[in-house]
């Protein structure tokens, strides 16, 4: 079946609403407007205003209400338009969603799913181009998902809704229009493991979310130069699939981590640290990283491009790692 990332996500939401009457979608303009990125288009007409619930501009309020509704037995899907607006709800996410289970000594779990758009690349300027999923991955108590493929856009949501604890799903804005084939019987997928998107022997390119297409491009270019790169899609940023990361590095002996977040204190720093802690003697080269330049994302196209991980920069980093003799 031909579909897009956006439609796969919509199918997943529709499927969840049909499977479980406790599920509802809530957020700004998810209903009458059809969703700011048209993910929920048509669902308002299909399921009505109770279950496709438009909210005022009140991120702290409706995210917190989602947590409360989850405590009260519902299975909310809360949509935050984009990751920058999640900052207005950070208190509810970090101080409530992530802590209630622990503070209550295991009594109160929060079965909540929050979806939001993330990432740069569309000339939206400094306030609308953040990649903060790595930041959220710092928080114990949250599970962080970054679907990068049609299968994951279709399949992660239901598994997330079955999770007893809060799950945040980050959808990269440049992925919504990605089109391709999806099996007719595509359904729920696991939300705990990384996936090899291209097997290879010479170097592990480790990435997630919006940069997966650029990394796959880079791998194709590298193949033309005789470098056989393995592409590992993390899929889940917390908890990280250590076994998959270390297994790939044990095979290739080299790694470059590609992450659209800023370099300092990033998820790529965490991955690099885990590799050196656990696979130091497998390595033939220092772990490389390709991240965003440490600057709020500029509007001008040429500057924005220069700030972001591109296939060109990934290829260069891979060459450098492979050129290093072990």
């Amino acid at each position: 079946m031909k579909t897009t990332y956006r439609e796969a996500m919509r199918t997943a939401i529709r499927d969840a609403l049909q499977r479980d009457e406790r599920v509802f979608l809530m957020g700004e303009d998810v209903g009458a407007y059809g969703g700011c990125f048209a993910v929920s288009l048509g669902l308002f007409e299909e399921f009505g205003p109770e279950r496709i619930r438009d909210t005022p501009l009140s991120e702290a309020g409706f995210v917190g209400a989602g947590i409360g509704a989850a405590l009260g037995g519902m299975r909310p899907i809360v949509e935050i338009m984009t990751v920058n607006f999640s900052l207005l709800a950070l208190d509810q996410l970090v101080n409530n969603a992530a802590t209630l289970l622990h503070m209550s000594g295991g009594q109160f779990n929060v079965p909540l799913v929050i979806r939001m758009t993330t990432g740069a690349g569309r000339q939206l300027g400094a306030q609308h181009s953040h990649s903060l999923e790595g930041w959220y991955a710092h928080i114990p108590g949250l599970r962080i998902l970054t679907p990068a493929t049609l299968e994951d856009a279709r399949g992660m949501l239901w598994t997330a809704l079955e999770d007893p604890d809060p799950v945040l799903i980050f959808e990269h804005g440049t992925l919504y229009n990605v089109a391709g084939d999806l099996a007719d019987d595509a359904g729920p997928v696991d939300i705990s493991s990384a996936a090899v998107r291209r097997p290879g022997q010479d170097i592990s390119l480790i990435t997630y979310g919006g940069t997966l297409p650029a990394v796959l491009d880079a791998a194709t270019q590298l193949a033309g130069e005789g470098i056989d790169a393995e592409v590992l899609d993390l899929r889940v940023l917390r908890p990280l699939d250590d076994a998959a990361i270390l297994g790939s590095v044990a095979k290739t002996h080299r790694a470059v981590v590609v992450d659209e977040g800023w370099r300092s204190g990033s998820i790529s720093a965490e991955i690099s640290a885990r590799i050196t802690e656990n696979a130091f003697f497998d390595l033939d080269a220092p772990v490389g990283r390709v991240c965003s330049a440490e600057v709020p994302l500029p509007y001008a196209k040429h500057l924005e491009l220069a700030a972001l991980p591109t296939a060109e920069r990934i290829v260069a980093a891979a060459r450098e790692a492979v050129g290093t003799r072990g």
């Binding site: 438009d54 501009l57 000339q123 300027g125 306030q127 600057v295 001008a300």
Partner: protein
């Protein structure tokens, strides 16, 4: 306060009314040009235009002194222009050129200009209100009699920052004027679908802030309401709040298919176009001749054409400068 009454027929009044007409037209033409340039892919990112709402910015800014401050939203091209940011610098910004008012770093949603005390250009709904409160706090603490005006849409009223800001401003009696541009929709969400109490001026009154509403399609009514409020704020009367009832004629942004409102509703509001309304009233009272109107249009067209040329001729910032302006650049001691 409905129906423009082109008060007074004295020369000064006529000149001033024609000035307001010209100001609104400058905004209208600049915005129309932006839409065109967006379609031609010269401007990218998100673009929100102010077409239909010109009377609000024109009426309010005409009451301000040069050293007053303005804080606005992502729908701020008109406010910037009317505060004195050159049209060329605004367009060059949207081209991503270094000649832009923010060197092409900000784009359409983030126009700033220190020279005219224009503090943005904020793309977080209600994000500007606390800044305005702080600017006013600084003025009060420094004993200056400046006014800070903060523009925001009615969508902002649901955010916590709105309520926290109003309370602080009232508690500390700060010289700030809050201007709510109530165009009835926050993206696709109608006011009545998002507020339990839709009388916005009443909410402000709940914080003990003097507040009233005005017809935002009538520039003279806006100006009169704003003048009263600005004078009171400047005289030490504490924060004031205006709800300006207006309507956006165009989509929320360039990505909005407008499924949420009726075409008939839009055309009803378009009959109250603030520019046509004032123009017709001035013509009827003999304050605007065909020649006057033609010359206003010509001047405005010339200004916008020159701005496009300026933006077109602009240059991209060198890539080596990518990581500038993350921290302040201090000259060596």
């Amino acid at each position: 306060m409905t129906g423009t009454s082109a008060r007074g027929t004295g020369n000064a009044d006529s000149d001033h009314a024609r000035h307001l007409l010209r100001q609104m037209l400058r905004v209208r033409r600049l915005e129309e040009q932006c839409v065109e340039l967006y379609s031609a892919a010269k401007i990218r990112g998100f673009l929100h235009v102010y077409i239909g709402e010109e009377a609000v910015a024109a009426g309010v800014t005409s009451t301000l002194a040069p050293d007053d401050a303005v804080v606005a939203t992502y729908r701020e091209h008109g406010h910037a222009l009317l505060r004195g940011v050159p049209a060329g610098a605004i367009l060059a910004e949207m081209y991503g050129h270094v000649e832009g008012c923010c060197r092409g770093r900000g784009g359409s949603m983030h126009l700033f200009d220190a020279g005219t005390r224009f503090y943005g250009g904020n793309a977080i709904v209600a994000g500007g209100l606390p800044l305005a409160v702080g600017l006013a706090l600084a003025d009060k603490m420094s004993g200056r009699s400046r006014v800070t005006v903060c523009f925001f849409g009615e969508g902002a009223v649901a955010e916590g920052a709105f309520h926290e800001s109003l309370n602080l401003a009232a508690l500390w009696q700060l010289p700030v004027l809050f201007c709510c541009e109530n165009n009835l929709y926050a993206m696709g969400t109608a006011l009545a679908r998002s507020e339990s109490q839709t009388d916005i001026a009443l909410k402000a009154a709940g914080y003990e802030i003097a507040s009233w509403s005005a017809d935002g399609m009538d520039v003279l009514a806006v100006e009169e309401a704003a003048r009263r409020a600005v004078d009171a704020v400047r005289a030490g009367g504490g924060p004031h709040f205006l709800e300006l009832r207006t309507y956006r004629f165009r989509a929320h942004s360039m990505f909005d298919p407008e499924r949420y409102r009726d075409k008939k509703e839009v055309s009803r509001w378009m009959e109250r176009d603030p520019i046509n309304t004032l123009r017709t009233a001035l013509e009827a009272s003999g304050q605007l001749s065909a020649k006057d109107w033609k010359s206003i249009q010509q001047d405005v067209d010339t200004e916008v054409e020159a701005a496009v040329e300026f933006a077109e001729a602009g240059t991209p910032e060198p890539l080596e400068d990518l990581t500038r302006f993350v921290y302040s650049e201090r000259s060596p001691e």
